[in-house]
Amino acid sequence: MTRRVPLWLAAPAIAGLLLFLVYPTVYLVALALTRSSLAHPLRVFTGVENFQKAFAAPAFAPSLGKSTLFAIVVAVVTTLLGLGLAMLLRHRGAGFGVAGALLLLPLVTAPVLVGVAWKLLLAPVGGGLAGIAAALGLGGFNPLGSGVGALIVLGLIHIWQWTPFAALIAFAALGVVRPELVESARVDGASPWRTFTVVTWPAIAPSLLAVATLELVIGYKVFDTIVVITSGGPGFATALSPFVIYQTGLRGSFDMGTAAAQTLVFAAVVGVVATAVTTVRARMVRAEG
């Protein structure tokens, strides 16, 4: 019956995959296995040399860990915050409302612009928040000046930008929770927490996990804000993997071969983490049955 859904419905998507996954992957692998520069790709077969070079570069291996940590943290925070916001909005009624619409603004703003705004807000001398910081006695407030601080700032900016997305989806998902079930649970004397876990969560879990997975992947690809705000610094603190790959291939060295090798490794890491999350999701969905 529904299991016999024909595959041709997905044909355009599969064609897109061919253009966007298979062809570039083949090309990527070819680049990774040869000495390739931006000017002269695919010159000489060099085997795994590019992979060795990729790991020899000081910034790459640590960037994998940083990117993973960053992606997981922002995925969790955006999803939870989004859920919280959605529940608050739902509390006020069925409509997303003016408040909800205004909350969408960060999502819509170009990262380049977001980067400039935050960079100037946080500039230690003359920045928008510098006056307020000084008034609060926090003179010398300069989060972008330290490695950890800069990474946290990037994380907060990302969360600022992507929580509305999670809120939107969570809000839609909450709309499916049957109010009569919530009502009967309350009548039965269940606490709000128990109502949530027994009634609400099962209904919204698939969508929430979908959003969390997507936020994870988006968190892995953070790039524009790094370019605009920190350029990977101070030091290598905010050199997340996409930025390192960009430096290798298009900015510093034009070494496409090594950049390709780095991309393959990075994609593998993201694939492993994303597959883990997908598996968890599939299991949870099956358990809800």
Binding site: M1, T2, R3, V5, A10, P12, G16, L17, L19, F20, Y23, P24, L31, P41, L85, F96, A99, A101, L103, L104, P106, L107, V108, T109, A110, V112, L113, V114, V116, A117, L120, G126, G127, G128, L129, A134, F165, I169, A172, A173, V176, A210, V211, K221, F223, D224, V228, I245, Y246, L250, M256, T263, L264, F266, A267, V270, T275, T278, A282, V285
Partner: protein, 263 residues
């Protein structure tokens, strides 16, 4: 009460940077680093001068056309695909592959994509951006729609099948109308992603005629004396209409939800 206060705080945080951008846009250049959120002197000059500094009208048009086209393309491809991934046995393997293709940073794909676009005559062309952004966003759209499809009870499909409809027909006539809120959500998300895309636009649309807004904004960064006021003005002119779109469409989205899926 507490809920209202929290929402109010959330709103302030959400709007602060954009409000600051507005405050930057109305300042002259020497007032930018004045340690305050508010300008000391006001001017509207930035909104006028920015059109001389960069070709803003063309860039805005390019951004809008490529983002709209990409959204339509991505959703047209992803919606039937999502039906497959959500309903077909083993369909979520396709979804994992789609997601995997989305994982890698697009940077190294620039070269092969450049060749592919040149072959099709679509380099430095808004059409090329539509194609690239559209196909690149299919995984996001499919992932979103997959979740929405799963929320529609399977009984609906089965009832329609019992009525004699082929699976494709079930999809087109029964499921798709119920999927409408998801489709709108997906259109919006892909639109925003494409509108704000930076990397593809920078390398695949280099000429003045094809440059988009994000490229234009980055041109300010490349200047030795950055005109922050004009950059902010350009940015605001870019996002204001997009925001109006979001506002209008959001009502439709919520409306779709309240008349949404069967209990």
């Amino acid at each position: 009460m507490k809920a209202r206060l929290t929402i109010a705080v959330a709103l302030v945080i959400a709007l602060l940077p954009v409000a600051y951008l507005l405050s930057l846009a109305v300042r002259p250049a020497d007032d930018v680093l004045n340690s305050s959120l508010l300008p000391n002197t006001w001017t509207w000059q930035n909104f006028v001068r920015v059109f001389d500094t960069i070709d803003l009208t063309t860039m805005l048009a390019n951004s809008w056309i490529s983002a709209t086209g990409a959204a339509v393309l991505a959703v047209a491809v992803a919606t039937p695909a999502a039906y497959v991934t959500a309903r077909r046995t083993g369909g979520d393997r396709l979804l994992s592959v789609l997601l995997a293709s989305y994982c890698a940073p697009p940077i190294v794909a620039i070269i092969p994509l450049f060749f592919a676009l040149r072959y099709a005559g679509l380099t430095n062309n808004v059409g090329g951006l539509v194609l690239v952004n559209g196909i690149a966003s299919v995984p996001v759209a499919a992932w979103l729609l997959d979740g929405f499809v799963r929320r529609i009870p399977v009984e609906i499909d089965e009832a329609a099948a019992v009525d004699g409809l082929t699976p494709a027909r079930v999809f087109a006539k029964v499921v798709l109308p119920l999927l409408w809120p998801g489709v709108v959500a997906a259109l919006l998300v892909v639109f925003f992603l494409s509108y704000n895309d930076f990397l593809f636009a920078v390398y695949l649309a280099v000429t003045k005629e094809s440059q988009t807004l994000t490229v234009g904004l980055s041109l300010f960064q490349g200047d030795r004396n950055v005109q922050f006021g004009q950059q902010a003005a350009a940015g605001l002119l870019g996002i204001a209409p997009v925001y109006v779109l979001a506002l209008a469409a959001q009502r439709y989205l919520v409306g779709g939800l309240t008349t949404g899926a069967v209990k």
